[in-house]
Every structure is written in structure tokens, then in C-alpha cells.
């Protein structure tokens, strides 16, 4: 039996999504920009998807721009807004310290080109405070970017309150909602943001399809220049099958958001409670209350997360250490570090993220295997330490 508890990395495709991708791939090969029948078919497939995504986040279809990924959506949001606002003289960007690399490294890149950048700290539960933003933001700030839910610990940020602070100083606000969309209700309007990124493969859609929601009236420069695709906002012939898949995934998510959140949340809670009970020296990282329902991040005293991850994989259980670096090894998590956790805890924490196809049997299997592996790893660590004196 293989257990997949790494839904925050990516998710299996829903059968309906696979069917849509296959049929569009097979039957709808036209270029959505073409005038003729074939083009119209492709355009129709994209329009359907656009409406479905808009419905999922309570937005207008005309505000959705399809991208190749969540990363591209984040890049577009930050670089596109920065370039559009350059004329206003604002030269300052703010993001939280626990953002995804797509945001952090985009800020770094703009920093090398003369933008001033500030990273907002988080508290020990991984939450950004609106007061902190109020102290940091200036009249020079062009854009604030704070993720809706964190990929490693699942914490949900107070986006609406942060948006109020940003807007009060005339800045735009972007939220990377890649890890919340499809897991909890995401309403672009009530969040109060101007820009919102999402990605299909985090909610049973395909890889290679994402979207940026751009609130009507928001000034943006395209980052991909070329033809007049996506209302002149994102050039490049669209990946119609993947976009169709994103549409179906959005529909499926919208249809059962609340019951799925409850079901997955119950599985996650059962897993979490059982681990805390069965394995001594464990603790939850991040706020237990305000989290997406599928994620738990647990530290295991006196265990190298890297070894535990591999030992679990050899038992057929797939989990993660948070964010992987280029070679796939464990880096001390920048999220856990930003929360002020001691170094050893940033290196002994595992992320379990559940999803649409997670079952009670999978939870049982982890509870059966994990305590034994931890005990074994701890025994060997102690022996090695003893041998070295």
C-alpha cells in the first residue's frame, strides 16, 4: 500500500479533469486566437474554464488571466504591478518572510534592479500582523504581497486586514492563494486584494496551468510580450487542454468545498492527534487554529527529518520536509526559521498534507509505521552520539 500525503506539493488529477484534458487534446486543437470554427472551439473551451475559475474565487471571468503556473502568476503580479507603478515614483515592495520562493526570489530580483524591499516578520505561529505592516509601509510602497495560506505549515494570514492597511497608504496588495484555493473558500472581493494567484495542480488539476486574478481597473504591465492573447495581458498561444483541466478542477472544488474541508480536516486531525500521542517529543509547528484543513507540520525531537522522510518513503509513505531546494535535499526551512524556531526544529520537521483521495486506511498506515521508524532512528542517533563520545 502506498500512502500519498504530499498534496501541498501536487495532487493527483480528478478523473473528470483527465477526461476533459483528453477530449480537448483530441478534439479541440485550434488556436484560440483564430477566427474560424477551430479557433472558436478552443476559445469556447477557455471561456468555460475562465468562468469556472471566476466562480471558484467569486470574481468576474474578465478578471482572470491564465498563466503557465502559480510561479508565473506570482511573477506577473509583482513584476507587472511594479512596472506599472514605476511611473508613480513608488519604489518599495513588501512581502512576508514566509512567502513561497516564487515571491521571495522575484523580490530579490527587483531588489537588484533598484527596488527597495522589506520582508515582514511573522510571529511564532507563523502569522503576519497588520500592525506590523502598518509600521512598515510607507507612501513609497507600491505593492504588498502576503500569501493566503502557507505551503509548509498551512497558516492562514489575515489578508483582509492587511489589504486595508495597504490600501490606506495607496499601495496595491497581492495574495498568493496557491495553497488555499480549492481547500477553503477563497473570495477575491472579501479578501480585499487587487491581485490573486492560483494554480491548478494544487487542487486536482493539471500541472502547467495557473491563473492570476487582476481586479478590474488595476494597472498592470504584461511580463510576457507578444501577441494579443488574454486581452493583451499575457502573450503566448494558450495551453488549451490544461486550461480546460483547470476549469473542471475549479468546478469540482467549488461543488464540494465545505464537505471536503470537513472530511479532510477530520482525517488530518486524527493523524495529528495520533502522532502526538504515539510519538514522544513531537510538536505542531504553526497555529493549530487558523490553518488550511489538510496540512500539519510536526517536529520530531532527535530525528533528522531527511532520514525520516526517506525511511517513510521506503515504507511507501510519501511526505515532505516543506520546500525542497534545487537538488531536492532538505534546507533548513525559511518558514520555520522566520517563526523563530531553534535550528534543530527547522531540521527535524515533516509536513503531512492530505487531500481529495486521502483515506482512513492511509492515516492508519502512517500511525502504524511512523512511531516504529522514529524510535529506530532515535536509537541509532543515540548510539552514534555515544560511540563518538
Amino acid at each position: 500500500m502506498r500512502v500519498y500525503f504530499d498534496y501541498n506539493a501536487t495532487t493527483p488529477l480528478a478523473p473528470d479533469v483527465i477526461a476533459a484534458i483528453s477530449s480537448v487534446t483530441r478534439d479541440v486543437f485550434g488556436n484560440a486566437s483564430s477566427v474560424h470554427h477551430f479557433g472558436q472551439q478552443a476559445k469556447a473551451a477557455m471561456d468555460g474554464a475562465r468562468s469556472a475559475v471566476a466562480t471558484l474565487i467569486h470574481a468576474d471571468p474578465s478578471e482572470i488571466v491564465f498563466t503557465s503556473s502559480g510561479t508565473e502568476a506570482d511573477n506577473f503580479a509583482i513584476r507587472g504591478a511594479a512596472e506599472a507603478l514605476e511611473a508613480t515614483g513608488r519604489r518599495h515592495l513588501i512581502a512576508s518572510a514566509i512567502e513561497h520562493e516564487a515571491v521571495l526570489n522575484t523580490l530579490k530580483a527587483l531588489g537588484r534592479r533598484g527596488w527597495r524591499t522589506t520582508l515582514l516578520p511573522v510571529d511564532d505561529t507563523g502569522v503576519v500582523s497588520p500592525e506590523r505592516l502598518r509600521d512598515t509601509i510607507t507612501d513609497d510602497t507600491a505593492l504588498v504581497s502576503v500569501m493566503h495560506a502557507n505551503n509548509e505549515i498551512g497558516t492562514i494570514q489575515p489578508i483582509a486586514a492587511l489589504a486595508d492597511v495597504a490600501h490606506a497608504r495607496g499601495a496595491l496588495i497581492h495574495t498568493d492563494a496557491v495553497q488555499s484555493t480549492g481547500k477553503i473558500p477563497v473570495d477575491a472581493r472579501t479578501l480585499g486584494v487587487d491581485l490573486l494567484s492560483l494554480s491548478a495542480h494544487k487542487f486536482n488539476g493539471p500541472k502547467g496551468a495557473g491563473a492570476l486574478w487582476i481586479k478590474r481597473g488595476t494597472r498592470m504591465q504584461p511580463i510576457l510580450t507578444g501577441g494579443k492573447h488574454e486581452r493583451n495581458r499575457r502573450a503566448g498561444t494558450e495551453n488549451v487542454p490544461a486550461i480546460a483541466g483547470l476549469g473542471v478542477a475549479a468546478q469540482l472544488a467549488a461543488a464540494k468545498l465545505a464537505p471536503e474541508a470537513t472530511r479532510v480536516g477530520a482525517l488530518r486531525d486524527r493523524l495529528e492527534d495520533a502522532i502526538l500521542r504515539a510519538v514522544p517529543g513531537t510538536a505542531i509547528n504553526g497555529a493549530r487554529g487558523s490553518r488550511v484543513p489538510n496540512t500539519t507540520n510536526i517536529s520530531f525531537d532527535r530525528v533528522e527529518a531527511e532520514s525520516l522522510l526517506i525511511a517513510l518513503d521506503l515504507e511507501g509513505i510519501a511526505v515532505s520536509t516543506g520546500s525542497a531546494c534545487s537538488s531536492g535535499t532538505l534546507e533548513p526551512s525559511h518558514v520555520l526559521r522566520a517563526m523563530g524556531l531553534p535550528t534543530h526544529r527547522t531540521q527535524n520537521s515533516l509536513r503531512f498534507s492530505l487531500g481529495a483521495y486521502s483515506t482512513d486506511e492511509e492515516v492508519d498506515r502512517v500511525i502504524e509505521v511512523l512511531p516504529r521508524l522514529v524510535e529506530k532512528l532515535r536509537g541509532l542517533t543515540q548510539k552514534a552520539a555515544g560511540a563518538r563520545g
Binding site: 533528522e304 531527511e306 532520514s307 526517506i310 525511511a311 518513503d313 521506503l314 531546494c325 534545487s326 537538488s327 531536492g328 535535499t329 532538505l330 534546507e331 529506530k376 532512528l377 541509532l380 542517533t381 552514534a384
Partner: protein, 355 residues
């Protein structure tokens, strides 16, 4: 048997993994990330760079074994790199690959392997390990390919490390290893062998050490054996015993001058003619005996550097991991910091570090 293979992405460890997998073992590939790959440092040498980690992964996929990369940056820094820098600063010429084997691959990596339920750790070294059925002791022998033999770098493996060590390519010539890789269409079959020290960019070890050492005047004097000043230099770490090039002394004495010794205490580099490089004895510390520690003097063939013929000598063990070696004939350029390894035929009897 579950065996963890330390996969560097080179042809030898790739073939080692493939051979074990074909023999039906439960093989797990582990690669060590040894330094920070995140900031695009592409100029590192030819072992364990990010491309090599990807090569290891491709090989693992080709032979259908699980493969993981473990982050050993901290351990590599502590066990290998800082020792390398300290040794040069102390006027010695270190051998980082030997430390990497004993203190990392067959220590930290082996511990991780044991934690994963592995019975043994395999590497792509050209060496052989055999169990002596008579007394249960493990022997370490040279690889059958004399031109590739790496037993010199493995002398300090203890009996318990040897008991769990597997060297699948040690009983094959390199040509055969490459041919095997080609036949199995391993993606690294024609990859060049690694030559340089893996963590030194562009093979510039002097620059590397200078970036690591605290600022300050490292310069000193070049003196002859009688203490006469012949010139100046920019730091003892830039020299190795036996070195002739780069002294800037070509015309001083008419005959070529060699580095005889490095003296970090007063930052002197002592130079002299080739004849003064000859020594008939050396002291070794950190001695590890692969055979049972001898109680009296033994005869052995003794090797003082990699790819160097072993010379007949008498070795005498003394207490606390020390030994003296007396060569039958004078040796040129016995270099502190290098390994001295005692052989009988192709068997490693033991070895230590030259003082």
C-alpha cells in the same frame, strides 16, 4: 540484502549500484550534497556538483532503484573542508578524499544507511574487502586495476567499517567497468573521471584557502637549510614539500631548488637541492591497523602518496596510534599531511598520517 550505494554521479559508483541491483540486492542510492548549490556556483570541480547529483538520479532511474540526496553540507564542512584549510595553514599537505571516506561516507552516511535498515554501504572505490574465515577479520586489498587502485584512500577504515563496506568494482579493471556501463546504457558511461578536489573551484586551492583564512600577513621568507634568506613568499599554504615550480628562485643557485619543509611558526619555507629531500624514516600518527596490531617490527611495502610505488621498509607500531617507518632506501619528498599506507602484496596492513 539491503545495500545503500553512495552515488557520486560518476561511472564507478553508478556501475557499483547497477551490479548490486543485478545481483538481486535491495539497493538504495544515496548522494551527498556537500556544499551549497543554491546560488548558482557552477564552477566547482567534477564530483558531487549539482550536475553530478542529477546524473546519479538519472542512473538510479535507469536501473530502477530509489535514490535520495542527503544534505551533508555541515558535516562536510566540519569533517573535510575545515581540516583541509587547517592542514595547509599548518604547513601540511592534506588528503581530503581520505577524510571524506572515513569520516563521512563510512561514518555519517553509513549511520544514515543503518537507520534505513541497510546491512552494508557500497561505493565505487577500486579496492576489495574480504573476510578472513579463519579469524573473522576483514582484509582490505588493492583493486585489481593497479592504475585505478584507491585502497590508499581507505586505509583508516576500521574493522567495523570494513565489515559493512562493499566495493563492487574493485575486482574489475576500469575498462570493464566502462564497458559494463555502455552495455547497460547508463547515462554516465562515457563521463570523464574526476581528477580535482571536488570542492575547489577551478582547481585553485590557494585562492580557496585564502578566502577561508582570517586576514593578516601570511607572507614569509624563503630560506635555505643554513637559514640564509633567498626570497619572500605569500604564505606557507601555497607550498608543498617537494615542490620545485613557483619558487621564483631559478637563477639563485644554478641548480634547481625544492621545498624541503614548511615552518608555519615563523612562516619560513625552507628550500634546498633535490638531494636534501631524501629521508629514510618518517613518523606517522592516527595509525589504523587493518590487521591485528603487530607487537614488534614488521616488514612491509610502504606507500607515501597516491599513485606512487610502495617501497620496502620496516614499520614499528608504537602506542597511542603512532608508528615509525624506516625505509630500506631513501625516499624523495615525504610530505607531512599525506597518508602513509603499509602493504603486504596487495593487502593493506594499516596506515597513518605523515607527521
Amino acid at each position: 540484502m539491503r545495500i545503500v550505494v553512495a552515488m557520486s554521479g560518476g561511472v564507478d559508483s553508478s556501475v557499483a549500484a547497477a551490479l548490486l541491483a543485478e545481483q538481486g540486492h535491495d539497493v538504495i542510492g544515496l548522494s551527498m550534497q556537500l556544499y551549497d548549490q543554491s546560488e548558482g556556483q557552477t564552477s566547482f570541480g567534477s564530483c558531487c556538483s549539482i550536475d553530478d547529483l542529477h546524473d546519479a538520479r538519472r542512473v538510479a532511474a535507469a536501473i530502477n532503484i530509489p535514490h535520495y540526496i542527503m544534505n551533508f553540507e555541515r558535516q562536510f564542512e566540519e569533517q573535510v573542508v575545515s581540516n583541509f584549510v587547517e592542514e595547509y595553514a599548518a604547513g601540511r599537505t592534506p588528503l581530503p578524499c581520505a577524510h571524506c571516506n572515513t569520516d563521512l561516507k563510512f561514518a555519517t552516511l553509513a549511520e544514515r544507511a543503518a537507520a534505513l535498515g541497510a546491512d552494508a554501504v557500497a561505493t565505487g572505490h577500486y579496492a576489495r574487502v574480504e573476510r578472513d574465515e579463519a579469524n573473522g577479520r576483514f582484509h582490505l586489498r588493492r583493486g585489481v586495476d593497479a592504475t585505478k587502485d584507491q585502497s590508499y584512500f581507505l586505509f583508516s577504515l576500521t574493522q567495523s567499517q570494513l565489515a559493512r563496506a562493499v566495493f563492487p568494482v574493485g575486482d574489475r579493471p576500469k575498462d570493464e567497468v566502462r564497458e559494463f556501463a555502455r552495455q547497460r546504457k547508463l547515462p554516465v558511461a562515457d563521463k570523464a573521471d574526476s581528477q580535482e578536489i571536488c570542492f575547489i573551484p577551478d582547481n585553485d586551492y590557494r585562492g580557496f584557502i585564502e578566502r577561508r583564512l582570517p586576514e593578516g600577513d601570511r607572507g614569509g621568507l624563503l630560506v635555505d637549510q643554513d637559514g640564509r634568506v633567498l626570497g619572500a613568499h605569500e604564505g606557507v599554504h601555497r607550498f608543498t614539500v617537494g615542490q620545485r615550480k613557483g619558487l621564483g628562485l631559478a637563477s639563485v643557485s644554478g641548480s634547481p631548488m625544492y621545498v624541503l619543509a614548511l615552518r608555519p611558526s615563523d612562516q619560513h619555507v625552507i628550500v634546498g637541492p633535490k638531494s636534501s629531500l631524501e629521508r629514510t624514516a618518517l613518523d606517522a600518527s592516527g595509525v589504523n591497523w587493518v590487521i591485528e596490531e603487530p607487537t614488534g617490527p614488521i616488514r612491509a611495502r610502504v606507500q607515501i602518496r597516491h599513485r606512487h610505488p610502495a617501497a620496502p621498509a620496516t614499520v614499528q607500531a608504537i602506542d597511542s596510534g603512532r608508528a615509525t617507518v624506516s625505509f630500506d632506501a631513501p625516499q624523495i619528498a615525504i610530505t607531512p599531511g599525506q597518508a602513509v599506507v603499509f602493504y603486504e602484496g596487495d593487502r593493506v596492513l594499516g596506515g597513518g598520517w605523515i607527521d
